[in-house]
Symmetry: C2
Subunit: 322 residues, 2 copies
Amino acid sequence: MTSEFAFIEALRAIATDPAARGLDDDAAVIEIGGERLVLTMDTMVDSVHFLPDDPPADVAWKLVAVNVSDLAAKGAEPLGCLFSHALGEDGWDTAFLAGLKAAAEHFAIPLLGGDTVRMPEGAPRSFSLTALGRGPRDCPVPSRSGAQPGDRVWVSGTIGDSGLGLAVLNGTLKSDAVVPEHARWLGERYRRPAPVPALGMALASMVNAMMDISDGLLVDARRMADASAARIVLGLESVPLSRALRETSGQDRAARLAAVTAGDDYCLLFTAPPERTARIRELAAGLGCEVNAVGIVVKGDGLTLMHDDQPVPLPDRLGYQH
Amino acid sequence: MTSEFAFIEALRAIATDPAARGLDDDAAVIEIGGERLVLTMDTMVDSVHFLPDDPPADVAWKLVAVNVSDLAAKGAEPLGCLFSHALGEDGWDTAFLAGLKAAAEHFAIPLLGGDTVRMPEGAPRSFSLTALGRGPRDCPVPSRSGAQPGDRVWVSGTIGDSGLGLAVLNGTLKSDAVVPEHARWLGERYRRPAPVPALGMALASMVNAMMDISDGLLVDARRMADASAARIVLGLESVPLSRALRETSGQDRAARLAAVTAGDDYCLLFTAPPERTARIRELAAGLGCEVNAVGIVVKGDGLTLMHDDQPVPLPDRLGYQH
């Protein structure tokens, strides 16, 4: 079986156009008519990225949301999407479409076209979506490779909710270990991630680097550090945790480590010079979004984890790794 | 099982943005920065759109070609593509990538990004590609709905080669019924379709309607007639047949009916006022392409088939119908 890493290395040798950004970023950026078009494509496979008994409307929502999250990370305004659908059973497909419609409306990303295919009998189905966005006009399109020593490292939203939501949904976390209100809220965070393109658009001119957190804060921060040829130092105590997570898991080191290695946050991870701190808080507050400084960029390479000024060994598993 | 027709009807209710063109066309068209961006997405599924023992490089070529064909039909210059790959066995994936690279170079459509996923063990794999093109600047982007009574109906290339090539490859046509040189050439037409974007770009300002022929000339001509609320009358005797096809199948009515109902031509089907005939021939000749007038558009609806001025009943099967 081809390793994903080896395959992407081979793809890189083909994708030599500058618009491909060396396949290192979450999206391609092409210039057309004086505008920057940001493009991203994600595929979700039955029994890999979702479970056969997941509500179909949530599967559709997530397919849209993960792509919108990539647009948000590039500071791009959603323009539209194309969607490839593998036909299945009637009721499932109808519910899926309802979720697709809800997400397209929520994220203001009109459905423009795509393809519909029939899979062989019994085959796991897969769904692909390509999202297009209009990149920022008066600043570069943020990449994950621009983090500079001296920058602060920020995250939007709260971290780890989606991972805990999955634990609630799949029964890893026993139902008597979480109050029903939190169980619902956490499950919703897993099933209906809600990236905020307006926040990415507002931050684009403030940041030196930006990406979305899709596989876990630690693994994505290390990817940003690697791409930027700098070291990122994160303070576990600064990682923002939701009330639902705190009241379910607590907020000790174990709970924090679980949160920062859980995937599917679809929050923003970005770095910016410290003098922009007030303006960043102001922009986020204006959009009703939470942002928190969780670390710094220094010279060097890799990722360093601290907790209350004490170094913490990196866990073996930094997140969902391909 | 959801019918594709019903599903697309339901999708249409969601895809209300004008850029989606009511999902009636082969591509979406969005305006950005004073340019028109043409977008199309096609998916190919193992054992549905290709066979497990098809050469992987040809599968990749075809995935690019079918999308480029849609761009050509909109008169669009290829700008780039995004590609979603389902990982499989190492040697297969390596050969697939070689075909992808060859096609991207042949069609001058750089690979810009995409996604790589792992399917569950034993699952048929599927591959999606989104192609982007720059639409014509000084004329409308051709649609399939613009055919006008009085227009001539044209096709590019020769019709039916790919269908006959498939018959050669899958053994439906016995090997002693075709000379080896023709067998090779016809097989290549099936495995490596070669749409010509430059021809579509040159014709865009000449045509009233244009689409690609992917499912068979008859079924696609009827789709154009339906979309245009006009009747298309085709003359079987005018349909251009390659030497390989003529010397294999002959050119009687049965051979012609087989050719016009075979899929995978990836030629252009277009209509234009008769006074543009000389200019159309000149433009095509300048690109080394063959174009032939094969019918006329009249008032009414549907498709009428003639052969040497005699009406011919439409066959039950007009092509590959979803």
